[in-house]
Each structure stands twice: as structure tokens, then as C-alpha cells.
Point group: C2
Chain length 323, copies 2
């Protein structure tokens, strides 16, 4: 299994610069945020989103150096992602993420709300100063989608009537929108054709959906140590993901358990057993594989280069996390 | 004393449309936010910020109807203001605002963080869709300043070395930046000269500072019923405002009390007495009057019209709240 670090080797130096920049941009002025920034940008994040932006930037600028605007876009992408994580953890009262305490746990809700607001504000400001109205629109759509996704997630807790389509829509808002729109924005900054820009959007959209589906499967199949958060956390909180939704089609009793919000003794264990007996995990894997294929198909429109290869392998990597 | 409703009569109908639009824009899609939106946009707010935007819009479009973009800017201004109030109340753990329970009190921190994020996100999105990079820059600066102001306020709690200049800077970030930049943005949408746009910025800047200074004086001179929040809340929380900072210049013992964060018995009452004995309130009034004068001076560059008159009277109104 390829590691994500190997995959990102064509932009390894870019990612190192990015991490240093992010810590400086966010932490420089405020001691209160400095600690949070160190915490946030050192916390073993895979830098998946900025890596995709940087790989697309390089793949669409084949004979030239990427511009400072491409780098700034990658930074903005990671800032928006981090801001949304910080606020999600407040909203979900999460205690750990990637095995380390969340900002709300370490510094309290006060600092977590402020730090998230500051990151969102700073990303809006850097965005405006990229001087591209089209890029501003793409990324402000993302910020809207992230809020929408978090609200939908709250509204559909323990709702056994949630459809796979509604689940995918929610996953688009929460995960895929940022990857899709920032992938497209990287192309826009390189001056690609409208058609190629749309291909890049679709690459990000399908990759993001696959990534979320895989994450949701891992919530069932991984131990809490691997995941860095309590195992089967989604189901406990009533977030119904692909494995549960497919299992519901086969196991009518699961609906009974979920409708009563798993409140009776043993409900949680019974629900887990029903999901394991079903084809829920298997069908979820097929769904993720379907989206990675759709993602990879878009890449034939890019010139052959190590950066395009890395983008292809990234899709395989997303799936390989399941094995 | 003129009431603010009379003052805003030239844009009364515009404000009615704005309130309806805001409730629809924010509440339409989500029951969870609908309640919060009703709560937020009906809570007896004076609509000061959108009223200024609308008055400037009309004053700078003397022979034409204002455009939908002017109206949208007014809505965005109120959305940003409301979003920042909602998050400030989470951060400050405030229980009431304008005499009614805050969103965090009524609906919990979860909904309050989400509602604020959604409002910020929505305002960024509408902003991008005004299709003016200059306006996007002006208002994204505001969102950044609001976060900066809230952080600075947190950092300077109970700091008796806070200077009047640092207090005014913090007040600019927290209050005046939004009024200044949205005033300028209204002019930009009307296509005014760069010089007039800067005048409008200064009008908003000085009016905003005066408004904040007056608010800070009222925290000392009003009862909790008039204010809709506990009396002398700022001092209790260690937010040192103009009256305290001026009093500190006259009363050395006040510094002792504040440095120990008013923790000994009677410290709070003693501090209040020292402030009352000082010229703190009087000098703060002079400071506010100075800024309203500077605000009004900018308006001579606008054509004479009922909207300009209202903008002038608004400056008087801000001061009149003290009597």
C-alpha cells in the first residue's frame, strides 16, 4: 500500500512551505491563536486538500512555475477546512480528533469559536485578495455548503428514512464541495478552458464523495486507535451513513432500533450485528469504488505528467484505506 | 429627542422590505434556523447599519431608484452584524441581549455556532454575487476585523495599561469597521468618485466610534432595564472602556483594584465610586462628540437631500442617547 506521503512527493516541498506559511499567517499576531494554530496545523493532518490543489496547479501549468496565487489558494483551502473542523468539534462536542484533544477540549469553546471565526474571516480576506471574482464565488459557495452540510447532518440524526441520495448530497456539502470547488479554482487560476475547469470540479466532487464514503466505512471497521476518535462514533450520534442506509434496506428490525434512537439496553450492539450481517459495508465499498472511477475518468483531459499520475493514484489510495 | 424611527423615515419602506427579506433568506430552508432568524431579526434591533447603507445609497443616487445590489448590500451588512452578535454571545456566555434571551440561551451553543456560521457563510456568498471585487474586499476586511476585535477584547481584559488609542482601535475593529466599510461600499455601488467613497468611509468610521463610546458610557449610566443587559457588564467582565481608562489617569487606586481583577470584597463598588468621582464619563462624552463632529464634516460632500439630513441627524441622535 502506497503511503500518502509517497503519493504527495511531487509537491512535498510545496506542502512544507504551506505548513510553515499557515502557522505564520494564523499564529503570528495572537498568542491565543498561536497555540491553537500549532495544535491545528501540526496535528498529523494529511494536507489532502492543499495537496490536490497543488497537484492540479502543477498539472495545469506544465511548462511554468506555479504562481503565488496557486499557493495562496492551497493555503485558503486548508484554512477553510480547518475552520470547519474546529466549529464542527464545538457543535458535536467532540473530545478528540486524530487521537489528540480538540481545540474545544484543550482551550475551551470560547477559543474554539474565535479561532474558527478568525480562520474563516482570514480565508475570506485572502480569497478576495486573489483578485478573481470567479474564484471568490467558487470558494464562498464552499463556505455556504459547509454550514449547510453541518445543519443537514444535525437535522437527519436517527432518521431511518434518509435516502442514499440525501446522504450523498449531505456528503457533498460537508466534504466534496471544498475539494471540487478548490480543484476547479486551481484550474481557473491557471487559465484552463471552461470545459477542463468543469472536469477538475468533477474530479474533486467524485474523489471527495469516495473519500467520505470510505471514512464512513472505516468508522465501522477500524478500532478507535486507528481512527483517532471513538469507534462507531457516527452511529452512536445518530449520523446514518452508507453502511447503515444499505443495511436498513435488508434488515427491517434495524429501523425499529434507530427510530427509538438506540435508547434501549443492547440496542447499539444489536444494530451493529444487523449491519455486519447485511451487505451494507460491501455495497458501500462498491459505491466508493464507483466514485473513484468517475474521478479518475476526468483526468484523461490533463496532460500526462507525474502530477496527473499522483492525482490518479490518490483515487486508488482512498480505496486502499479499506484494506 | 428625535426617535430613531423618525430619523429613518426616508428609508422606512426600504427597511420593512429588508426585514422581510432577511427572515426569508435566512429562515426559509431550515426549521432550526427559522426560529433563530425570527428571534434575531425581530428582536427590536434598530437596523442602524442597513439604515445607514440605504440612506447613503439614496443620497448617492439622487435622481435614480437605488438598485437591488444596494438593497442586497444593506441585507449583507445586517447579516454580518447579526452573525457576529450570535458568536460574541457564545464567546462571552451572554444570557440576554436587548432584554431577550440570546440564541445560545434559547437554543444552546450548538445552534448558536451553526446559526452564526450560516449567516457569515451566506453573507460571503451574497457578497461574491454582487459582482464587485472592490465591495468583496471592503466587506471581507470587516469580517476579519470583527474576529480581530473579539480576540483583542479577550486579550485586554483587566489590563489597566490599555491606552485610549488601543481602546479606539479595538472599537474600530468591533463596531466602526462594519459601518465604515459598508458606507463606502454603498457609494462604490453608486459609482461615486474615489474621494467621495473615502469621505463615506470616514463618516462611518467616526459615527461607529462615537456609537461605541456612547454605548460604553451607557453601560455605566443606564439601569439594566434600559440597556437590556446587566448594568456595568463591561467592567464586571474586565472590558475596560473610555470612562474607566480616563478615570485611571486620575485615580491611581483604581489601577490596584483592576489589576487584581476586582476580586476582593467591595472592589467592584469601590471601582465604580472612583470612576464616578473622576471626569471619566465627562471626558468620554467629549470624545464621542469629537467623533460625531468629524463624521458630520464628511457629509458636506454629499448633495443636499432628506437622506443627507437624516445622516446628519443620526450623528446627533447617537449623542442624544446620553441625555
Amino acid at each position: 500500500m502506497t503511503s500518502v506521503t509517497t503519493l504527495f512527493s511531487p509537491v512535498e516541498e510545496d506542502l512544507r512551505v504551506l505548513t510553515d506559511n499557515l502557522k505564520q499567517l494564523v499564529g503570528a499576531r495572537h498568542p491565543i491563536l498561536f497555540a491553537a494554530a500549532e495544535h491545528l496545523f501540526e496535528a498529523g493532518g494529511k494536507r489532502l486538500r492543499p495537496a490536490i490543489v497543488l497537484l492540479i496547479s502543477r498539472a495545469t501549468m506544465p511548462n511554468q512555475e506555479i504562481t503565488p496565487r496557486h499557493r495562496r489558494l492551497a493555503e485558503i483551502t486548508e484554512m477553510i477546512h480547518t475552520a470547519s473542523l474546529v466549529h464542527d468539534d464545538v457543535v458535536d462536542e467532540a473530545e478528540t480528533r486524530r487521537s489528540i484533544p480538540t481545540v474545544n477540549t484543550s482551550f475551551g469553546n470560547r477559543v474554539a469559536v474565535l479561532a474558527g471565526d478568525f480562520l474563516f474571516a482570514q480565508s475570506s480576506w485572502y480569497l478576495a485578495n486573489l483578485d478573481s471574482l470567479e474564484v471568490v464565488k467558487l470558494l464562498s459557495e464552499v463556505i455556504m455548503d459547509l454550514a449547510e452540510g453541518e445543519i443537514r447532518q444535525g437535522l437527519s440524526q436517527f432518521d431511518p428514512d434518509l435516502s442514499i441520495e440525501a446522504y450523498l448530497e449531505k456528503s457533498y456539502y460537508k466534504t466534496a464541495s471544498l475539494i471540487a470547488n478548490s480543484s476547479k479554482a486551481a484550474g481557473v487560476l491557471s487559465g484552463v478552458s471552461a470545459e477542463l475547469a468543469d472536469r477538475l470540479y468533477l474530479y474533486g466532487r467524485h474523489l471527495g464523495l469516495a473519500f467520505q464514503i470510505v471514512d464512513d466505512i472505516l468508522d465501522f471497521t477500524s478500532s478507535s486507535e486507528t481512527l483517532g476518535k471513538p469507534a462507531v462514533a457516527d452511529l452512536r450520534q445518530g449520523h446514518l451513513t452508507a453502511p447503515v442506509l444499505y443495511a436498513l434496506e435488508e434488515k427491517p428490525h434495524l429501523e425499529v432500533l434507530i427510530s427509538r434512537e438506540l435508547t434501549e439496553p443492547e440496542d447499539f450492539e444489536k444494530a451493529l450485528a444487523l449491519i455486519e450481517e447485511s451487505r451494507g459495508i460491501e455495497r458501500s465499498r462498491e459505491l466508493a469504488a464507483h466514485h473513484t472511477e468517475l474521478a479518475v475518468q476526468q483526468l484523461v483531459h490533463l496532460p500526462a505528467c507525474p502530477h496527473r499520475d499522483a492525482l490518479t493514484q490518490l483515487a486508488d489510495y482512498v480505496l486502499s484505506r479499506l484494506y
